[in-house]
């Protein structure tokens, strides 16, 4: 993945940096759940490097239940070089699985998604400070979020993707019970909704991902994400709507002044409002029964 067949450099840094600064052998954000293949799918990243002598970066996926048409989702960061083509090569393995052959020891086939897209240096983007409303207080169970698009940008084409990043775990907190910041879980039963987990040394992120099954105006029909239950609000939820190859919207859902009992180690003191209202920055707000 780091260098193409013609030895053009796709990623200027080595793969550990290019792929979320993970360690060699680290779990990698992936899933197949969204397409009803069962199992407890796991992925691992094996480091490659981007020199001519280098070996490719590889991501292993295993522990899925076989279905004839299987979906596989991977979260990547696009190459940092513009004008290059990303290709994804897939090797299928089977046979005996063991501790040293997690995915089987017999090579069974190959598929090359050649030149999936050509990178562009910059896209057309809009950003705003909020585009989401929680259904109830953040600390309550089964809180869903209605993620809207920005006015004029709202028509999400079929097959395009929305993504919401939730920081779920923060190892910098000193109190063990505080380390779990948010508990994301998948409520939707739609095949095209999914959660991918990214575990870095310091944080864990949950990525809610939807591949839109049909063209949808997300100004009027928002993406219902959830649930996310957060003990104390510390981090914004970042949302991307990818409308096309080059047009995307980035939004930071910044809740502030959310009444919580405990804010964490380094936050500024918070204000409990007498009307016990969850304030959302921007012009929208919701009154929530606590």
């Amino acid at each position: 993945m780091l260098i193409d067949e013609k030895k053009n450099t796709l990623f200027s840094s080595n793969s550990l940096t290019a792929f979320f600064s993970l360690s060699d052998g680290a779990p990698y954000p992936c899933s197949n759940y969204g397409y009803s293949a069962g199992g407890n799918v796991k992925c691992f990243l094996i480091n490659g490097d981007n020199t001519n002598r280098g070996i490719p970066t590889r991501i292993f996926m295993t522990d899925f239940t076989y279905v004839q048409n299987m979906n596989a989702r991977l979260l990547i960061k696009n190459p940092d070089t513009a004008g290059v083509y990303l290709s994804v090569k897939v090797y299928a393995y089977g046979g005996t699985r063991s501790a040293s052959n997690l995915y089987g020891n017999v090579y069974m086939g190959y598929w090359n998604f050649m030149h999936v897209f050509k990178t562009v240096a910059s896209g057309t983007t809009a950003s705003n400070t909020y585009n989401s409303q929680p259904s109830k207080s953040m600390w309550r169970d089964q809180t869903t979020h209605s993620v809207y698009g920005t006015s004029g940008w709202g028509n999400m084409p079929s097959g395009k993707v929305s993504l919401m990043e939730v920081k779920a775990y923060d190892s910098t907190f000193t109190v063990i019970s505080d380390k779990t910041v948010c508990i994301p879980s998948r409520m939707s039963t739609f095949d095209y909704d999914d959660i991918l987990w990214l575990n870095t040394t310091t944080y864990s992120y949950a990525y809610f991902i939807r591949t839109w099954p049909s063209s949808t105006n997300i100004n009027s029909s928002p993406w219902s994400v959830g649930s996310v239950k957060c003990k104390h609000y510390r981090y914004p939820f970042n949302t991307y709507h990818y409308f096309s190859d080059t047009v995307y919207e980035y939004a930071t859902m910044g809740y502030t002044n959310v009444p919580t009992l405990y804010q964490g180690v380094s936050g500024t003191p918070i204000t409990l409002y007498s009307d016990a209202t969850t304030r959302v920055t921007g012009s929208q707000s919701r009154t929530i029964a606590l």
Binding site: D24, A72, K77, A92, F113, V116, L163, T246
Partner: protein, 374 residues
């Protein structure tokens, strides 16, 4: 210190080490008090630490509850189980993991054991205090250093002058830039060996007369080649060699030792060059290459390349392993079989450095796929 992975300790090479620490004297402070032990690499020797993981060794008498490598400060922190039953002569053994230790590149002649420092820590509170082994001895009750350790040395061999292709430690995916991706050879279908090799600066001068540069490709025993013979004026199963897209006329095959050797006189600048060796049957254009005879069914293989400049020493490279054969669900070895018969992909966006979910659908042609490698 004993290397785990290799027998020859090359300078600059990554390896794991088994480290034994035994404090033999009975009259000195009791090591059973130790709550933390810091093993400090010498500051003036350029060891590099790559990985943070280490574990208790099989030969350790003292049990280790935690072991961690501080790669920045080059310290191995060992948390032993605190037990009054431990005596000073008990051995503490740890093993690093994940090729954690990079051998010195510059100071390869020797490192005396007494250049390593070992500090034993103990404290009275339940919480571990912050210790700073490099700058002070707070909480430290025992130091093993140049005064107490014998000066037996560990030394390293000079690193070899040519790079070997890094081995795959985990998967057996073919090196995509060195091998053709498909098809691989099968028991029915012959294929040539094609790859790129870095010739370094071995062949930078042209030679003449009876002097030749030599590149030899050795294929594994799982491949068979037929010895050439003449059918009237037709040479059947003739070995052919290509280097840098030049047909090399002096191309011979030794089927007993499985070596194809090409000799040439032109110069090649340092860098990567395309090499192809094959066996041709002029009666059958499909017969191009080597036949695979698998044993067992699983079919991982690799090749070796020897490069000798005229009058010079031979350099050697071994390729990564690569798969040679598909297998059928029945478990028998058969011809090519596509386990993935189709696929589709969509993605979020094409903007550089942006988060991008890839959503692939793969259509399988068999029911026994258990793993995918992307």
């Amino acid at each position: 210190m004993t290397p785990v992975q290799s027998t020859t300790k090359y300078g600059g090479m990554r390896d794991d080490y088994t480290i034994d620490i035994t404090f033999g004297s009975t009259s000195d402070p009791d090591v059973s008090y130790a709550q933390l032990i810091a093993f400090i690499f010498p500051t003036n020797i350029d060891y590099t630490l790559y990985n943070t993981d280490c574990v208790e060794g099989a030969g350790s008498i003292i049990k280790v509850s935690n072991c961690y490598i501080d790669t920045t400060n080059r310290i191995i922190y060992i948390t032993p189980v605190v037990s009054s039953s431990y005596i000073n002569s008990n051995k503490l053994q740890i093993v690093t993991r994940g090729l954690a230790v990079g051998n010195p590149v510059n100071n390869i002649s020797h490192t005396n054991y007494n250049q390593f420092t070992v500090k034993y820590y103990s404290w009275m509170n339940i919480t571990q205090p912050t210790v700073a082994p490099l700058s002070n001895n707070i909480y430290c009750f025992l130091i093993l250093d140049s005064n107490t350790v014998t000066s037996q040395a560990i030394s390293f061999s000079t690193y070899i002058s040519i790079y070997t292709t890094p081995p795959y430690a985990f998967s057996y995916v073919p090196q995509q830039r060195y091998y053709r991706e498909t098809p691989f050879s099968t028991i029915l279908h012959r294929v040539p060996f094609e790859f790129e090799v870095n010739t370094q600066s071995l062949f930078t001068s042209a030679v003449s007369g009876s002097n030749y540069h030599t590149i030899t490709v050795q294929y594994p025993s799982s491949y068979s080649a037929v010895t050439a013979f003449n059918l009237n004026d037709l040479q059947v199963y003739r070995p052919v060699c290509y280097l840098n897209n030049n047909r090399i006329k002096l191309c011979t095959i030794d089927t007993a030792n499985r070596k194809v050797t090409m000799q040439f006189q032109f110069a090649l600048a340092s860098g990567f060059y395309y090499v192809m060796v094959s066996i041709l049957d002029p009666r059958n254009a499909d017969s191009n290459g080597f036949l695979y005879t698998p044993s067992p069914i699983q079919s991982l293989t690799n090749i070796k390349v020897y490069m000798t400049p005229s009058g010079g020493a031979t350099s050697y490279i071994e390729s990564d392993t690569f798969p040679a054969l598909y297998s059928l669900p029945s478990g028998t070895t058969e011809g090519p079989f596509r386990g993935i018969k189709g696929g589709s992909i969509n993605y979020g966006c094409a903007v550089t450095s942006l988060l991008n979910p890839l959503h692939m659908t793969l259509m399988f042609n068999r029911t026994d796929v258990t793993g995918l490698v992307f």
